[in-house]
């Protein structure tokens, strides 16, 4: 290890990255010491992931310099060169080869050989054992296939793999999202071991309590800019949340006194009682009222999408009851849910929400083709007419016969929304309705959601990881954490500050039973 005096291990100097119309990274400068565990914080879209992708070589930076131990990281950095400079990243989805053994994975392409050709398996396993021992994980059998290991063990193997090529900086991107409480503790032990060996850990997490347990420092980003770096011992969670949101946003309490929903039992559109899938969702109950837009906030991994898919019948419901307009409904398949007047706009419009190979007008009427056909025979003129109506009313920019794949993200999303509006549901679930969509289209989609809920007997659910979005469009917000609804934020209490504090604080509080 180099003993240069007070020279930081990792120096990020004026790094920028542009996407069309967006400064994803705006002149970011930041130093990190050897053996430092630094939490990297910021809201969605703040630029954390982009910065880490620049470091690990997944994307090229557009400007600025990065030095590791004084050596400049090339601009056209690739994951391979980044490894050569000692930077490794551990993603949420592990990148191990599940059919190979632990040892083979750790030394993939670096296997010790006999006569330059044949893999020396004895040596391979001995070396792998050594690497795992450094992480105090020598209980892992290096002969096992990776798929036979539990998730936290797989993470250990991934870390060991990083260390096998003399790694100086390890980036962990939300490593605890799918870990249980005990598993998280074990991961923290590993992080401490790494720190004691002088390895720098950059730790991306939204869970405030974790950061206070494990990190030495916290760097905060907002809107692509570096905001500040603070010592954990000298700060508290409120101060960090303030850095993340910026004080400017304090005034955004738009909904106070603005909510017209009558919160009375005769006004309930959907009543969900204690539903569970037996795995991820633990007894969720809530009521949805006519004219209401109900938000679901939470961290990534808080299982909001899983809850929505269960309401919609896309995934199996194990126990609990759902009532729509007072009547209990069977929850089997999406077709059943649609008959029950529940709709679900997927967060993945390309994979699940739209048929990209079909035209705009075909997509628009796909759910309710009965309305455009007689005895199964399609009236194409009627389809065109319906599409043109939606095109006008929700401002879709595209031709009726064009393929959906030729549209921009915002227009695709509008087609997906038109499709659900045409389905005639009473309850529409919008899952991340504005992900990857520009600001102008966002505002239009908010209007559409509100307009939908303004109809008598209808109500919307909005799942969003964007706190500002929840504040803008929702009457009431439920906060979820690890598959449970942990807090209900009332209409007169909604603000970005209030929501973010709830989401971040509750994020780590619910322990696994």
């Amino acid at each position: 290890m180099s003993k240069q005096i007070s020279k930081p291990l990792l120096e990020i100097r004026n790094v920028s990255k542009y996407y069309p119309g967006v400064k994803a990274l705006d002149d970011v400068s930041l130093d990190i010491e050897a053996g430092e565990v630094m939490a990297l914080l910021g809201e969605n879209g703040a630029g954390k992931s982009t910065l880490m992708k620049v470091l690990s070589g997944a994307i090229a930076r557009d400007g600025g310099d990065v030095y590791i131990d004084g050596k400049s990281l090339p601009v056209n950095n690739t994951p391979l060169t980044a490894r050569g400079y000692g930077v490794a990243i551990i993603y949420q989805e592990l990148s191990l080869l599940s059919q190979l053994s632990v040892a083979e994975n750790i030394y993939l392409t670096q296997e010790p050989t006999v006569a330059g050709k044949f893999i020396d398996y004895k040596k391979l396993h001995a070396q792998a054992k050594g690497q795992l021992a450094k992480l105090e994980a020598s209980h892992i059998d290096t002969h096992l296939k990776v798929e036979e290991l539990a998730l936290p063990e797989q993470q250990m193997v991934e870390i060991a793999k990083a260390l096998a090529v003399d790694c100086r900086v390890i980036i962990m991107d939300e490593p605890t999202t799918s870990l249980t409480w005990e598993e998280t503790d074990r991961l923290f032990d590993v992080v401490r071991t790494l720190r004691s060996q002088g390895i720098t850990v950059i730790y991306i997490s939204h869970r405030m309590d974790e950061i206070f347990q494990i990190a030495d420092t916290a760097a905060v980003m907002r809107d692509g800019k570096f905001v500040d770096k603070v010592k954990i011992s000298e700060t508290d969670s409120d101060a960090i949340v303030e850095l993340m949101t910026g004080k400017l946003l304090e005034h955004k309490d738009r909904r106070v006194g603005d909510c017209k929903v009558r919160y009375q039992d005769d006004n309930v559109v959907m009543d969900v009682r204690d539903i569970t899938d037996g795995k991820q969702i633990k007894g969720a109950s809530f009521k949805l009222y006519s004219h209401e837009v109900l938000g679901f906030g939470g961290l990534i991994g808080s299982k909001r999408t899983e809850l929505a898919r269960m309401l919609f019948g896309a995934d199996k419901l194990q126990d609990g009851k759902i009532y729509v307009s007072g009547k209990p409904v069977a929850s089997g398949a999406p077709a059943q849910a649609i008959r029950n007047k529940i709709g679900y706009l997927s967060e993945n419009r390309k994979e699940e929400g739209l048929n990209l190979g079909m035209s705009l007008k075909e997509n628009t009427v796909l759910i309710d083709m009965g309305a455009v056909s007689k005895m199964g025979y399609i009236n194409f003129g009627k389809i065109s007419q319906i599409f043109e109506d939606y095109k006008k009313s929700i401002n879709i920019k595209g031709f009726a016969d064009a393929m959906v794949s030729s549209l921009s993200g915002g227009n695709q999303q509008k087609v997906a929304i038109a499709k659900w509006l045409h389905a005639g549901c009473d309850v529409l679930i919008f899952d991340e309705p504005t992900r990857g969509i520009d600001v102008a289209a966002k505002a239009e989609i908010y209007t559409l959601i509100r307009r939908f809920a303004d109809q008598e007997g209808k109500a919307a659910i909005v799942i969003s990881s964007d706190v500002a979005e929840l504040v803008d469009v929702c009457d009431r917000v439920l906060v979820m954490s690890r598959g449970e609804i942990v807090e209900e934020i009332q209409p007169d209490d909604i603000s970005q500050d209030r929501l973010l504090k709830s989401i971040v604080r509750k994020g780590g509080q619910v322990k696994h039973a």
Binding site: P20, M358, S373, S408
Partner: protein
Amino acid sequence: MPSTALSSQKTTSQIVKEQIVGKFGVIIGLIFLFAVFGFLSPAFRTWGNVTNILIQSGTNAVIAAGMTFVIIAGGTDLSVGSTVALSSVIGADIMIKTGNVGLGIIVSLFFGLVCGAFNGVLIAYIGLPPFIVTLSTMWLYRGIAYVLTAGQAIVNLPEANMKLALGRFLGLPAIVWLMLFVYVICYIVLAKLTIGRKIYATGDNNESARLSGINVKGIKTLVFVISGFLAALGGVILMSRLNSGQPVAGQSFEMSAIAAAVIGGTSMTKGGVGGISGTLIGALFISTLLNGLVILNVSSFWQQVFMGVVVLCAVALDIYRKQLSK
């Protein structure tokens, strides 16, 4: 991540190019083929030979129509050739035993449905991959056909069985009328009925179709049932032309059927792409090619080489088309 996809509408010239590569490419190819063979051989350019080509394409065209349903829904059916064999030996057996040709045909078609439904249920409800299921049933159905007949052809069918092969109506062979009838029905189902949109949607994106409330399992079963039924109908045509039920019939018919669909612009690499009219042209293209080569005295070995080249070109066109539409 902020990703502002600034994709725009296609230009008219792009759409025209796509149409040429897509729908009209194969028609242009067919016309070209006719021109070349017609130029080289006076025997080729007779009305009698044209009728011949139409008759020769009958069985393949009918089977390929069913194959098109399966491929558009995102699958493939390798068992059609064996379905031809199994359904026709059963039908022939019934004809011999009862002397009733109509009953034989109905039973034959029914077993086509059964073969297709068996494929469909395994694929849609058990979730096995279409390639593996139909590869297995390709052997299974053929094997049963051999077992039932001890490998022998069932001959001396009632004379009425030949009516289809020999009959003519308004100057065209009955087989051609049957083929056209099948294609009109298939065209209506795929292009005009809601069920057709559901088949396309399922092939284009299974999950999206499911979340749109489409019964994707039912759709997947249905397309295999259609494929099995039309394979049996192809078998009925063959049985009439050969005036026998043969357990060896239909060898590698699945390949010709897939080739017809692919030449016609239905995509093997991506479900939800293609159409029934292209498949008809594709089937005509194949029989024109083979017919012309025979008339020109090209050896059957070279015929296979030409077939391979044509299918490769069709697949290359398919890939090119996909790049165009990006």
